[in-house]
């Protein structure tokens, strides 16, 4: 019974959390070791359940008094169990080494297992109460971890915004469930599936789910907490937040919109689609503007969430038009990207954590040349960068390729709005993919290549073996999923069958293990052969060159077109790398304030260049909101300082008004 084992894993996580409160024997090694083992067990559960496609459910006498706690594992839950626990296991492995750098372990250790447990619970929940309880618990414990380094004011602010936004999302979901459950309170998911809400209720529910789950996943403009909170946490937890928790948000959206609400209208798909496109583009553009490595990665999570939502929106649109096969393709693409992003984003955050541990720096402009000091980290980080930039033959490309294939089916959609919008969204997707490549050329190039910009970067050393092991595992998985994507697609088939009503052709039986979204005559891709081709031609070339030409080499000083400047500061920095794109998109997308202070010729003082990029979500959305609340609070606060007589006047007036109501009531 999969769900029972799953719940046992959750219980074990909580037990570890309690033990972590006991000082002494149950230190860092114990907690992360135990979490890793339990996560592996959970991974096994998910994999089994996904493989044999059986649905198992159980009802416990806990939870909301009126209905008890319902838990269930179906294909979707199983897949997300795999994602969550895979991330959890690898992160625990990484933390075995990285966790030792923690100054105050007790601020992380008890919450880490609870965090994993909550994420598992969300995926297994089968009624609204358990779902929201674990959903909010997930936010709560991660909030506590974000506060682990609570002495920096920035982290306090980040944690505050995080918790408030998370609660906002939870309340939105609460309204959504209220709508689906109805006035009699049918909170069990089965009851919601059975109920047939009115059309407007369905659409309202979809919008509310988009707000609630989207704010957790980081959809623009509800993303503002994400780039603040994810970097603030310890790096291994950042990996969990970015790589796994956002996926739980995706799970919530899929569960509600594809499973619970019934049949959404096509324009719901359109909304999701457009939001996804905007999110992807803005996310990567903001990422390009960052020079804090972890914040760059966090913003990049926003982009990938956008890509996933593009897939989901397409699936929604296709399904509402009864195009089961296309819907299956789009949904598979989205979920595939879920898996991929959890892999390479965790990998990249691990790399950033390794850099942080080795140099104590998060600011790329103070790094450089690490490829010499941290060779292993450099290799895996490079693989991660290539994967997230959607470069063949790695996994990131496969899921984006599938998304493109789904986009190419869109002209068959009957609605003109969708017909005309989807290509535009496709262009946005292509744009964000290209910008992502630019972004990670910058991230890798500035951090690992070139010459060290500070002494800290020059003194850096390779990180411990646990961290490296974890990163190598993820890098290997990235390559594997990119070269043999067919098996992942087949594994996702039951999910597609369940929620899209169709399946893609079976991939593992295709010749040469290539993947075929719809039919081979239409389009196909074979990572394995491409990979083999590259290796072959690369070795062939190398052999030929070394065989028929000279292999003589000479080291010398940098040439640099004749006038080398050996000060490392003359290298291109992150900001200067992003400058052309800032110039091109800056005026449109975000308020860029560049301040150049160039001394006149002959003056000896240094010139200054400062650039400030403002997220419009703050300028137009949250800033005014916060100011409004503050102003209202200030105004109302006058009521604290009245005289007793004035208070009596208030009471008197209220009484008179009520009396007049009674007098008027006939």
């Amino acid at each position: 019974m999969a769900v029972v084992v799953g719940l046992c894993c959750v219980a074990a996580f909580f037990a570890v959390a309690l033990l972590a409160l006991v000082r002494g024997p149950f230190g860092t090694a114990f907690v992360y070791g135990a979490c890793g083992a339990i996560a592996l067990a959970g991974l096994a559960v998910g994999a089994r359940a996904l493989a044999d496609g059986a649905t198992s459910a159980i009802t416990l006498p806990i939870g909301l008094a009126l209905l008890g706690g319902h838990f269930r594992i179906d294909a979707l839950s199983a897949f997300f169990l795999v994602v969550v626990n895979l991330g959890g296991a690898v992160t625990s492995l990484y933390a075995l080494g990285y966790g030792r750098h923690e100054a105050a372990p007790l601020r992380v250790l008890p919450f880490y297992p609870a965090f994993l447990a909550a994420m598992n619970l969300v995926v297994m929940a089968d009624d609204a109460f358990v779902f929201l309880l674990s959903w909010e618990l997930m936010s709560l414990v991660s909030w506590a971890i974000v506060l682990a380094h609570h002495r920096e004011p920035a982290n306090l602010r980040a944690a505050y915004i995080y918790l408030v936004m998370a609660s906002f999302g939870t309340l939105a979901l609460l309204l959504c469930f209220g709508l689906l459950a109805g006035a009699e309170g049918g909170y069990a998911f089965d009851a919601m599936r059975a109920a047939h809400p009115a059309a407007f209720a369905v659409e309202l529910a979809v919008i509310l789910a988009l707000i609630g789950a989207g704010s957790k996943a980081g959809v623009v403009p509800l993303h503002v907490w994400l780039p603040l909170a994810h970097p603030a946490a310890p790096s291994h937890v950042s990996a969990l937040l970015s790589g796994v928790m956002t996926k739980v948000g995706i799970y919530g959206f899929v569960r509600i919109v594809f499973d619970l609400v019934g049949a959404p209208a096509p324009w719901n798909g359109l909304v999701v689609l457009v939001l996804g496109g905007v999110t992807a583009t803005l996310g990567v553009l903001y990422a390009l503007m960052q020079h804090d490595l972890k914040r760059l990665l966090a913003y990049h999570t926003v982009e990938n969430i956008g890509i996933i939502f593009i897939g989901l929106g397409l699936a929604l649109a296709f399904r509402s038009n009864g195009m089961a096969l296309a819907a299956a393709l789009a949904l598979t693409a989205a979920l595939f990207h879920v898996l991929n992003h959890s892999l390479f984003k965790s990998l990249l955050f691990f790399g950033a954590g390794a850099v942080l541990a080795a140099t104590g720096e998060r600011d790329m402009e103070r790094l450089g040349g690490l490829i010499h000091r941290m060779p292993h980290t450099a290799v895996v980080f490079l693989i991660g960068c290539a994967a997230i930039s959607a470069l063949p033959p790695l996994n990131g490309f496969v899921s984006e390729w599938l998304t493109f294939q789904a986009i190419l089916v869109s002209p068959l959609l009957p609605q003109w709005g969708l017909k005309l919008t989807v290509p535009a969204v496709g262009a946005l997707l292509a744009l964000s993919a290209a910008l992502a490549a630019a972004c990670f050329v910058k991230a890798f190039g500035v951090t690992f290549l070139g010459r060290p910009r500070t002494a800290a970067a020059a003194r850096a050393g390779e990180v411990d073996r646990f961290s490296r092991a974890a990163m190598f595992v993820l890098a290997a998985l990235c390559v594997l999923a990119g070269v043999l994507p067919g098996f992942v697609i087949d594994a996702l088939a039951p999910v597609a069958q369940q929620f899209a009503g169709g399946v893609m052709p079976k991939q593992s039986i295709q010749p040469w293990l290539s993947i075929v979204p719809i039919g081979e005559s239409r389009s196909s891709y074979n990572g394995l052969i491409i990979f083999a081709f590259m290796i072959a031609s690369g070795t062939l070339t190398a052999f030929a060159v070394h065989r028929f030409a000279t292999r003589a080499t000479r080291r010398s000083a940098i040439w640099d077109c004749g006038f080398p400047l050996d000060a490392p500061q003359t290298q291109y920095t992150a900001s200067s790398f992003a400058m052309p794109i800032r110039r091109v998109f800056g005026s449109v997308v975000f308020g860029v304030h560049e301040r150049v202070d160039m001394p006149p010729p002959g003056a000896t003082r240094a010139g200054h260049f400062a650039v400030r990029v403002i997220d419009p979500a703050w300028r137009w959305g949250y800033g005014p909101l916060a100011r409004g609340v503050a102003a209202a609070a200030l105004r109302l606060n006058q009521l604290q300082f009245l005289t007793i007589r004035r208070y009596l006047t208030l009471v008197f007036c209220a009484l008179i008004i009520l009396l007049i109501v009674v007098a008027a009531w006939r």
Partner: protein
């Protein structure tokens, strides 16, 4: 007999209402105290009459308490306070005399409007008394909020409470009336005692309640 009963009760309750208006109208503390004493005596009379009308002897106790406590004891005590604090000059009102009067009239109209349609089943005494009592209660509260001076505020509260007692005794055969009236007298005694407390403490050498606000926290920091 019935008509006579009704007329007397009506007369007394009406007198109390008129006295409430007088209270609103007064602008000298001493005069206010005297008028209030008069109202208390009228209340005592009305209660006594009710005890006769409903032949409920226990109401006499209430009448006695009202006469003793509110007719003599408390006015005397307040007179002493006023003399001690030399605040028998006229008392500043928040609302001018005219507007206060108009508001008062409006309140009376409202209370009649509220009570008139109800209680067809109820005894005629009940209905009249109820209208007057409600009006007196509202006027007392109006007095509390239109005067800045603690003594007059107390007087306002006590006239409000007169209205309550009037209603309670007007309610035919209401249990525990005596207990309630005694409880109220205790309450009022507490209030007067409170004023004494304020007077005793050096900081509160005025009983002008608005002077207390400077002691409340939070004003300076949160601006």
């Amino acid at each position: 007999m019935h008509s006579l009963t009704f007329d007397v009760a009506h007369l007394l309750a009406g007198t109390m209402l008129v006295l409430s208006f007088l209270l609103l109208y007064q602008d000298r503390v001493t005069a206010v105290l005297n008028v209030f004493a008069l109202q208390a005596c009228t209340l005592a009379l009305s209660v006594a009459w009710q005890s006769v009308a409903q032949n409920a002897p226990h109401l006499i106790v209430t009448a006695m308490v009202a006469l003793a406590v509110k007719g003599f004891f408390i006015p005397a005590a307040l007179h002493r306070i006023v003399r001690r604090l030399e605040i028998h000059r006229e008392i500043e009102q928040v609302l001018g005399g005219g507007p206060t009067m108009l508001t008062g009239l409006g309140l009376v109209a409202l209370s009649i409007l509220l009570v008139q349609p109800v209680g067809e089943g109820a005894g005629i005494i009940v209905r009249e008394d109820l209208a007057f009592a409600l009006a007196i209660v509202l006027l007392g509260m109006l007095m509390m909020i239109t005067r800045r001076n603690a003594v007059t505020q107390i007087v306002g509260f006590m006239s409000l409470e007169n209205g309550l007692i009037l209603a309670a005794t007007g309610a035919k055969g209401m249990p525990l009336v005596v207990e309630f009236s005694v409880a109220f007298s205790i309450l009022i005694a507490f209030i007067v005692f409170g004023v004494f407390v304020f007077r005793i403490r050096e900081r509160f050498d005025t009983v002008d309640v608005s002077a207390l606000d400077s002691f409340r926290g939070e004003r300076t920091e949160h601006t």
